[in-house]
């Protein structure tokens, strides 16, 4: 799974692949970020629960860029090195809204089932 607890790193499954898209879009919606920072931010924001492995992150970033949902440019990073910064595009914004709403519905539905006695 791409988004995992702990250090396990493996190939993404379809279900969580879609979720990773959502997480990335959401995180860079705040500000343009490079890959490393995206992974760190997801970890921090999830309270150290979700760790995005590199094996899932970069292919996912490239796919999103190819889809035209995010764009990239090279800039100098916080430690004074060149890094590739990703930012959300207009189309990406729409996808994010849609995916977020979708996620709300899905997680609410799952919660209903899980909490049912």
């Amino acid at each position: 799974m791409s988004v995992t607890e702990g250090n396990a790193l493996s190939k993404p499954t379809d279900l969580l692949q879609g979720t990773l898209d959502l997480l990335i879009l959401k995180v860079i919606a705040l500000e343009p970020m490079h890959g490393w920072a995206i992974a760190q931010r997801i970890r921090q924001m999830s309270g150290e629960v979700l760790q995005v492995g590199q094996g899932a992150l970069y292919p996912c970033l490239h796919k999103l860029e190819q889809n035209g949902w995010i764009s990239s440019e090279w800039a100098v990073s916080e430690n004074n090195r060149r890094a590739k910064y990703y930012s959300l595009t207009k189309a990406g914004r729409k996808v994010l809204d849609h995916e977020a709403a979708q996620w709300e519905r899905l997680s609410a539905a799952i919660s209903l089932i899980v909490r049912a006695v």
């Binding site: 490079h34 490393w36 970069y58 190819q66 090195r81």
Partner: protein, 608 residues
């Protein structure tokens, strides 16, 4: 993002590949360094941190490959790589590449050439409207099931039938003497009943068709072919209304036929005149000089039409027992069969032969490929061990096979174009006139498409064989040079079977070719009952108006013999109405009473 910018991104991935790759390197390296820094900060030594980070990434190259895959254009890239690799492989083995390409090209060119012939003759429609409804109606004699009709019989058929929307006739004893300023010139052409072109569904490109009652009209008209219009009248529109004198009868030109019009059952014809029963033969029910072409009424099958024409023929036989003693039956033949009937079996035999040849070529190349894949086992095994997926390996074979087949197909197409020209050149001009559809023979879209699909099929075959071969043998075994497992034995058995198939195919071809050759030999040595060596034949034409009575014609014949006999080198001279062995009704038959052609046979002395 809008489509154009997505498109731009894709193009960038494809064409600015080096830059995209460099950026990918840099991006992953940046990540790696940050990871190392993190581990160092957590208290690891630099070396340990480095190893841990690399482990965490799990293979930089694999990550890169995944990113490339995500960019979506990887397959184009891979295909291009495979293609270049295939070309390199083929160039490394020029002997193999040349042999395989050449063998394939031979097979494909033979098949495409014959396909061109088949298409021109059997598939392309005749240049008539709704040609499937057209039939030729013949009197059926015991000696000849497709015999021609006399004018009087034709008129009766025309009046009695209920099955055709129209039936029209053309004279077999055609050919005209055209009076020109300089004298007389024999020209091709014939006489047809007034509705002839209407029945075929052909309208003149210029001018108009014959009027329906033109057969009984007092005026004489003629329609010229497109070629004659160009050649004799300079393609001028004023040709309409111009007078030409054919066989001493002045006729007015009323139309020009379309360029693509041809009527193979008669052959080449420049002038199409009205029938008007001007030939003395046409007063005689026993003198059959007409063939017919008829259009079936809607909803009437050729069988039911045939049945009715049988009855009419029987009725006429009873009515005219002298002249129609043998003509008590009728045959209807689809016009297409009248046109291509005799070449169809030849073409189908040729096509089958070419197909077998192509099959042999493919088997040959497959055998070569197998031999080569044997020597490439190690290479493939290494690639497999290094992580090439079986799909990727199959694609490699497919691209190699297609490259080979593509080269063979291209060369084959060029050879085929060349062969078609030679083939048409080999057919005597007179035969081409009766097969005018062959004139258009040459590479066209259909033959190119045919060659492409043949190449594609061959390419697929060449891709499948080595793949099957690979999957049969175990990779690990192949890694050890020269090992042979049970799969190898199975495979060698398969190879041996291929050789059996090939020898069988070759035997079929050889036997067929031998039989055909033998038939040709026999045909050339048929005892004709005469000795044709040292014989020369001369066709003679004269204006019939000047020799109208039988006495004048006999006198002309005598004079011809007298004038030729004393020529040096001539031994003896004789005259006949039709050349020996030419069937009555051949393009230039003749009757002394009516026509303009006689043949004089001249025996040359032996020293000539």
């Amino acid at each position: 993002m809008r489509l154009p910018s997505i498109f731009r991104l894709r193009l960038r991935s494809l064409f600015a590949r080096r830059r995209v790759e460099r950026e990918l390197d840099e991006e992953l390296l940046y990540h790696l360094e940050r990871q190392i820094e993190e581990y160092v900060a957590a208290g690891m030594s630099v070396e340990d941190a480095r190893h841990a980070a690399l482990r965490a990434i799990g293979g930089v190259e694999q990550r890169k490959e995944e990113c490339r895959d995500m960019r979506g254009l990887n397959w184009i890239d891979n295909a291009a790589q495979d293609f270049l690799y295939a070309i390199r492989q083929l160039r490394k083995n020029p002997g193999f590449a040349c042999t395989a390409t050449f063998v394939l090209a031979l097979g494909i060119s033979a098949t495409v050439t014959i396909f061109g012939l088949v298409e021109a003759a059997l598939i392309k429609p005749l240049p008539y409207r709704d040609q499937s409804r057209l039939v030729g109606a013949f009197a059926s004699l015991p000696s000849n099931p497709r015999s021609s009709l006399s004018y009087l019989d034709f008129t009766d058929w025309k009046n009695l039938h209920h099955v055709f929307s129209s039936i029209d006739a053309y004279a077999l004893n055609g050919g005209f003497t055209l009076s020109t300023g300089a004298g007389a010139e024999p020209v091709t052409g014939t006489r047809v009943s007034a509705g002839f072109f209407h029945t075929l569904g052909v309208a003149p490109a210029l001018g108009h068709d014959f009027h329906p009652d033109e057969d009984s009209a007092a005026t004489h008209t003629v329609i010229v072919s497109y070629a004659a219009w160009q050649k004799r009248f300079g393609g001028r529109a004023e040709v309409l209304g111009q007078a030409v004198t054919l066989n001493g009868i002045p006729r007015t030109i009323i139309g020009v036929l379309p360029r693509e019009f041809h009527f193979a059952p008669y052959g080449a014809a420049e002038f199409w005149a009205t029938l008007q029963s001007t030939d003395p033969c046409e007063q005689n029910r026993g003198c059959a000089n007409l063939n017919t072409v008829a259009r079936l009424k809607d909803g009437i099958s050729i069988e039911s039409a045939s049945a009715e024409m049988q009855l009419i023929a029987q009725q006429l036989q009873k009515q005219y027992p002298d002249s129609n003693r043998y003509a008590g039956s009728a045959t209807l033949v689809p016009l297409r069969d009248v046109v291509v009937g005799e070449v169809r079996p030849i073409l189908l035999v040729l096509l089958a032969g070419a197909g077998v040849l192509l099959l042999m070529a493919c088997v040959n190349v497959t055998t070569l490929l197998m031999a080569r894949s044997e020597s490439r086992r190690r290479e493939i095994a290494v690639r497999g061990a290094l992580g090439a997926t079986s799909v990727r390996l199959f694609r490699q074979f497919a691209v190699e096979g297609l490259a080979l087949a593509g080269a063979g197909g291209t060369l084959g197409l060029v050879l085929a174009e060349w062969a078609m020209q030679i083939l048409v050149g080999l057919i005597p001009a007179q035969r081409v006139d009766s097969m005018p559809y062959l004139r258009a023979l040459g590479s066209n879209l259909h033959s190119v498409a045919f060659a492409c699909s043949l190449s594609l099929l061959a390419g697929m075959l060449f891709a499948i064989i080595p793949t099957v071969r690979m999957s049969l043998s175990e990779t690990t075994q192949s890694l050890k040079e020269g090992t042979r497992g049970s799969a190898g034995i199975r495979w060698r058995r398969f190879g041996a079977n291929l050789v059996v198939v090939e020898v069988a195919l070759a035997m079929v071809l050889m036997t067929a070719a031998g039989l055909l050759g033998r038939s040709l030999y026999t045909l050339l040595h048929v005892d004709t009952g005469m000795r044709p060596d040292q014989l020369a034949s001369v066709g003679l034409h004269w204006p019939p108006a000047r020799y109208s009575s039988d006495e004048e014609k006999v006198a002309l014949g005598r004079q011809i013999v007298e004038r030729i006999s004393p020529l040096p080198g001539v031994r003896s001279v004789a005259i006949s109405l039709t050349p020996p062995w030419a069937p009555y009704g051949a393009p230039h038959p003749s009757t002394l009473s009516g026509s303009r052609t006689i043949t004089s046979l001249t025996k040359c002395s032996d020293d000539r």
